[in-house]
């Protein structure tokens, strides 16, 4: 299948569907063990440094929201409009020898922290403007491995497990306030009248990256379970929950201009399993990813 066909196909998908994921990463060397990193993914711009050795990686970076994706169903546990600092640490255990299977395990932890000032108008008038600083945070743990027999046309698999807890503040919705002036003319003023709130979210997820050893495509089924608690509480289990399933197909074009290009396409279905939320009980859609300087080892 040639590259032009793939790009035409993706362009068609972009046009006819509501694409909800996009990623592009770039790295540049700044020292023997340090790389600069920029990444655009899922409505965020990330910039920072990667300190890398073969068995560990430390990544401090800033995550800046660049679009309002609060309603995106595929981003339930990542919705944030807060400018955040992120610190991640990865440890890799590789037991590959000169001959035999190729095997490695990695464990990664990440902590995110940020504050934002929110304005609201509790008396429904411009003069009642109130400011509120809120702290948003999240923690994430990932465990994954990679295995292949180390032979031509051998299968390659990379299962991953991820669990994420987050508490992200969001401003309340605007409401229309009817104002009557002295001339008897009514106007509507859009104001936020209630404080921002945060719902705790816990989201375990699993994926299985699979490459058959033939062709330029890999496959990744992934399943997420999101527990969403009540606003103002820390317990994520007393609200609603949703199950989401994705089935990714990744294409790896062999081009020399840039290596590690990965183009992914997936349908998704999301089912509300307990409680109630603003979404339909059953939701579905499509997702597209473009990744650069990557490989098939990692999905989350």
């Amino acid at each position: 299948m040639n590259l032009k066909f793939i790009f035409r196909l993706l362009l068609l998908v972009l046009i006819i569907s509501n694409i909800s994921s996009y990623a592009q990463e770039a790295k540049f060397k700044i020292g023997p063990y340090a790389n600069g990193m920029t990444n655009i993914k899922d409505g965020f711009f990330e910039i920072g440094t990667i300190f890398h050795k073969s068995n560990m990686e430390i990544k401090p970076y800033l995550r800046i929201p660049i679009s309002n994706k609060e309603k995106a169903i595929t981003q339930i546990d990542r919705n944030s409009n807060t400018f955040k600092g992120v610190l991640s640490y990865s440890y890799i255990l590789d037991i590959t020898e000169e001959t035999g299977p190729i095997k490695r395990i990695f464990i990664s932890g990440q902590f995110e922290f940020g504050t934002k000032e929110y304005k609201f108008y509790p008396d429904s008038t411009n003069s009642s403007e109130t400011k509120s600083n809120q702290i948003s945070f999240a923690g994430e743990l990932k465990i994954g491995c990679y295995k292949t027999n180390g032979e031509e046309y051998a299968k390659q698999i990379a299962p991953e497990f991820r669990v994420r807890y987050s508490k992200e503040y969001k401003s309340s919705d605007e409401v229309g306030i009817v104002m009557n002036n002295s001339n008897g003319i009514s106007t509507v003023n859009e104001l936020i009248i209630t404080e921002p709130d945060a719902k705790p979210t816990l989201s375990p997820a699993i994926s299985l990256n699979f490459y058959s050893g033939k062709g330029d495509f890999s496959y990744t089924p992934a399943m997420y379970y999101n527990f969403i608690g009540k606003a103002g509480e820390n317990n994520p289990f007393n609200g609603n929950s949703r199950l989401r399933v994705e089935t990714w197909v990744f294409y790896y074009p062999v081009v020399s201009a840039k290596t590690g290009i990965k183009i992914g396409l997936s349908p998704f279905v999301s089912l509300r399993t307990t409680g109630d939320d603003s979404l339909n009980k059953f939701e579905y859609g499509g997702m597209l990813q473009l990744l650069i300087s990557t490989n098939m080892l990692h999905f989350f």
């Binding site: 990679y146 180390g150 390659q156 790896y252």
Partner: protein, 101 residues
């Protein structure tokens, strides 16, 4: 005595680098006389600098990736030879080879 000193003290400096050049490389491995010196993801150039014995040494490289992706190996032995650059292509997502220097 002089022979023993020669054997244990005379070393050659070497720089060995593996770099993706087309497609997607998952992992790079390199071994010198069975000892692993590179084990890293193939998302960018990976390099090892060190000393090797004057005696002949065996270098083995193993690479996994997608399809028929390509990578480049560079060996630099300062003062001994010009840089040696070799480009290889994976076959079915894998390639390995051995050289003696």
């Amino acid at each position: 005595m002089s022979i023993i000193l020669n054997k244990y003290n005379m070393k050659r400096k070497i720089t060995l680098a593996l770099e993706p050049t087309a497609g997607t490389i998952n992992l790079f491995y390199a071994f010198i006389n069975g000892k692993r010196i590179i084990a890293d993801e193939g998302t960018e150039k990976r390099e090892w600098k060190g000393n090797i014995d004057n005696d002949e040494v065996r270098i083995k490289v193993r690479v996994t990736g997608i399809g028929s992706s390509k990578y480049k190996m560079t060996i630099d032995l300062p003062g001994t030879a010009d840089d040696q650059k070799l480009t290889f292509q994976l076959n079915g997502g894998y390639h390995e080879f051995e050289i003696y220097i």
